[in-house]
């Protein structure tokens, strides 16, 4: 089914919150999934896999344990691409030196953050792992051979891989019903179960609306 990007962003943000992300991190996750969908890459699918793989795990276990080093690892083993991506983007101005990211779950989700970091810093950034390469300069280029559940090593460099195709923007995304259902299941955790009393009181029915 064809989804608007607004719908993709909204569903993925709620799903991330449902999986235990803080609101600010859930906003980042939703924006990343939407960004990828907007260039025809399977961001919503990657996020669904990520959220299920890390469901309920604390941010502290999944984020880079020491971002001042060149080698980023998470204390819990798996590095979350949203936690690592936001950290990269937050320190975009200081990304002059190359970095190696270890054991990254769903590395595709790093891509929007590195694109933003390149935009913020005005410096070219290249992101590569065995099945994918991306280059962000004035334009956005890159491709994936196949989706990668876990990349042992992801390289963030200023070296430009050559021959990458430009990313093409699109305003719709065909989200398969199965993935939509998985994300919806997580998103539903953010909805409060409703009682008759809250239904009447919560929206404040007040006076009759049929006059």
């Amino acid at each position: 089914m064809s989804w608007s990007l607004n719908e993709i962003g909204s569903l993925t943000r709620k799903a991330a919150r449902g999986a235990g992300f803080s609101w600010g991190m859930a906003e980042e996750a939703g924006r990343a999934a939407r960004w990828l969908a907007g260039v025809g890459l399977p961001g919503p699918e990657a996020l669904a896999d990520l959220l299920e793989a890390t469901d309920g795990m604390a941010h502290g276990m999944l984020c880079p344990s020491d971002p001042t080093t060149k080698d980023w690892r998470a204390s819990g083993g798996m590095l979350c691409p949203i936690a690592a991506g936001t950290a990269l983007c937050d320190m975009a101005g200081a990304l002059a030196q190359a970095r190696t990211l270890r054991e990254v779950v769903q590395p595709l989700l790093l891509v929007p953050f590195v694109a933003d970091a390149a935009g913020v810093s005005g410096r070219a950034q290249a992101l590569t792992w065995p099945d994918a390469a991306f280059l962000f300069t004035k334009d956005l280029r890159g491709a994936i051979i196949t989706t990668t559940p876990l990349a042992r090593v992801v390289h963030l460099t200023q070296d430009a891989p050559t021959g990458l195709p430009p990313l093409a923007c699109q305003l719709r995304y065909d989200l398969c019903p199965d993935v939509a259902a998985r994300l919806t299941l997580l998103a539903e955790r953010t909805y409060a179960p409703e009682t008759d009393a809250s239904r009447l009181g919560g929206a404040g029915a007040g006076l009759s609306d049929n006059d």
């Binding site: 608007s4 803080s22 179960p193 409703e194 239904r199 404040g204 609306d209 049929n210």
Partner: protein
């Protein structure tokens, strides 16, 4: 003091801590910069034309109609599905599943195949699905008080009771107008670069404007089909007095919090307009006369404004008394002294209630279209451009920002029950924002991030004990503060982005947030039906599409002093007549 590109001197804009309180936002009025008025001015100066290529509706009021607006480069069509709704099914609540009429704004002119597809989806609203060819999705219900009366009297060859019509002000009210990619419709990104949709909510406003034309045609059509030999159309002057009603509930309130950059753009445009007028060194005799006339019309508007809500009754009494004081002041003040508009403004700040002050802020813009109407082009916001967190910012600077923006919240004792009496959550049943009393701890898990004051106070507390140097380090250690940190950084650049008030306190009236937003739409006659939902009318007294060619487009939001003289004889648009 801020600089404004079109004015040589720095302009004194009202500070955000003055403007962005809930009580003041709940006193906002429509103005020249309201989205309905921006739309109608564009329709006029671009000479849009209108046609009604289809109107197949039977005597029970069931069928389909299409209304097309032809801009210089494109066409947009309102596709309307009319329904014969059983009275017991009629509800304005978002939990309703059937309506008297449902609509979509189609990008272009729909084919029969499009209509067939839309007929299977649009009447279902949220339960249906539209595509990128559709720009909005909406529905409306008849006014029980008025609909049958108007059909019956017109069918019998008479005009309806003028007093009854004035008491209601509309024949149908919309209960939701969805745009921006909702339920599969086109994203705003798909249309935002079209000049006609650059200003906010132009798609929604066009949809409602064409809906009004449809509703008036529908009521006349039903009268005609009921009694073809005796039925008469509405008198054109009376016809104009019908707007489109609207019921707006809690679902809309969080919008202002969820779009801080956009909120800033709206408020900054209006505040800049006010500052430009206040900076004028003199006032011409024509401007003074025009201003006095619009104030007199605002008095009529306030007199005709109906509500039974106790809080609104107090506000209406304030407004009416303020307008009398304002007229006296206009008559007595020395208009030849320097900066007369600014002196009038200062007098109002010292003398009038919030209702009167905000009404004056809107009225001062009226005679100054040439000076301020360009600001309509500044009311959009590329929210992505201000969204990224500046991680290089020192924590000391973030602390200073929190103090500056949320200082009011740092003085609140957040452990007191009244400080956090309310809680925003989203309901499972309709996935719409709701407000609960914070009595049941179970709901805390579901709390939405719609309480920036409380969140800023928590941020402040954790910043105090943080030893790291930059915001990047802080939010990595405290992901729970990422949301409010972003808000603080946005508001540092865009000072009107944040409501400077407690949005979860015991004293919160969500209708204040609703009124602020709806006033920017151009809504009039706010009529709260509880503290959580409000009735309004839209496009009341506005010219109909066929009247825009020969009449003024932007002189309708306050009722005319004398019986309307510029109303064109009724020439309803016919099939395929652009």
């Amino acid at each position: 003091m801020q600089h404004d590109a079109l004015s040589p001197a720095p302009l004194a804009l009202r500070p955000p801590e003055t403007v962005m309180t809930l009580a003041r936002m709940g006193s906002f009025h429509q103005s020249r910069l309201s989205f309905m008025r921006i739309l109608l001015r564009r329709i006029k100066y671009e000479s849009w034309t209108f046609s009604r290529p289809r109107f197949d509706i039977d005597a029970r009021g069931v069928g389909v109609a299409v209304y097309t607006a032809h801009t210089p480069h494109r066409a947009y069509s309102l596709v309307a599905f009319a329904n014969d709704l059983a009275p017991d099914k009629r509800s304005d609540r978002v939990i309703a599943t059937e309506w008297d009429a449902t609509f979509t704004l189609f990008d272009g002119i729909p084919t029969d195949a499009d209509i067939t597809r839309l007929r299977a989806n649009v009447p279902l609203q949220e339960a249906g699905r539209v595509t990128e060819q559709e720009l909005s999705l909406s529905r409306a219900n008849r006014s029980v008080r008025l609909w049958d009366h108007v059909v019956a009297t017109l069918a019998a060859g008479h005009q309806p009771d003028v007093v009854k019509c004035a008491d209601v002000g509309y024949l149908m009210r919309t209960t939701a107008v969805y745009g921006s990619g909702k339920f599969g419709a086109a994203d705003r990104e798909a249309t935002q670069n079209r000049p006609e949709f650059n200003a906010p909510f132009q798609i929604e406003m066009l949809s409602v404007y064409l809906t009004r034309a449809f509703v008036m045609d529908l009521v006349e059509n039903m009268a005609h089909l009921r009694a073809p030999d005796t039925a008469v159309p509405l008198d054109p002057a009376l016809r104009r007095q019908f707007g489109i009603g609207n019921s707006t509930g809690l679902g809309m309130a969080p919008y202002l919090l969820n779009h801080p950059g956009l909120l800033h753009a709206w408020i900054a445009a209006r505040e800049t307009a006010l500052a430009r007028v206040r900076a004028l060194p003199t006032a011409s005799a024509d401007q003074i006369a025009e201003f006095a006339q619009i104030v007199a019309r605002a008095r009529l508007n306030a007199a005709a404004w109906r509500s039974d809500h106790p809080a609104q009754l107090v506000k209406l009494a304030d407004l009416r008394a303020d307008l009398v004081r304002l007229e006296t002041q206009i008559d007595s003040m020395d208009w030849t002294a320097p900066a007369p508009w600014n002196r009038l403004w200062h007098w109002a700040e010292d003398t009038l209630t919030l209702e009167g002050q905000e009404q004056l802020a809107a009225l001062l813009l009226e005679p100054h279209g040439a000076l301020i109407d360009d600001l309509a082009t500044r009311m959009s916001c590329d929210e992505g451009a201000v969204w990224r967190i500046d991680g290089a910012m020192p924590c000391a600077r973030l602390r200073a920002l929190v103090q500056e923006i949320y200082g009011w919240a740092l003085h609140i004792d957040w452990t007191a029950p009244e400080a956090q009496a309310k809680l925003w959550y989203v309901s499972q049943a309709k996935q719409e924002p709701r407000l609960a009393d914070r009595i049941d701890a179970v709901l805390d898990t579901y709390e939405q991030p719609l309480c920036p004051g409380r969140d800023a106070a928590r941020l402040w507390g954790d910043l105090e004990g943080f030893t790291g140097g930059t915001v990047a380090e802080f939010v990595l250690a405290h992901p729970e503060h990422r949301h409010i940190t972003r808000r603080a950084q946005i508001t540092a650049r865009l000072p009107y982005a944040e409501i400077r008030d407690n949005t979860i306190g015991a004293a919160l009236l969500p209708i204040d947030m609703l009124r602020a937003k709806l006033s920017f739409f151009g809504a009039c006659h706010f009529d709260p039906r509880s503290d959580r939902w409000v009735r309004i009318t839209m496009f009341q007294n506005a010219p109909f599409p066929h009247e825009l060619t020969d009449g003024p487009a932007d002189d309708w939001t306050y009722p005319p002093l004398a019986p309307a003289s510029h109303v064109m004889p009724g020439t309803p648009i016919g099939p395929d007549t652009p």
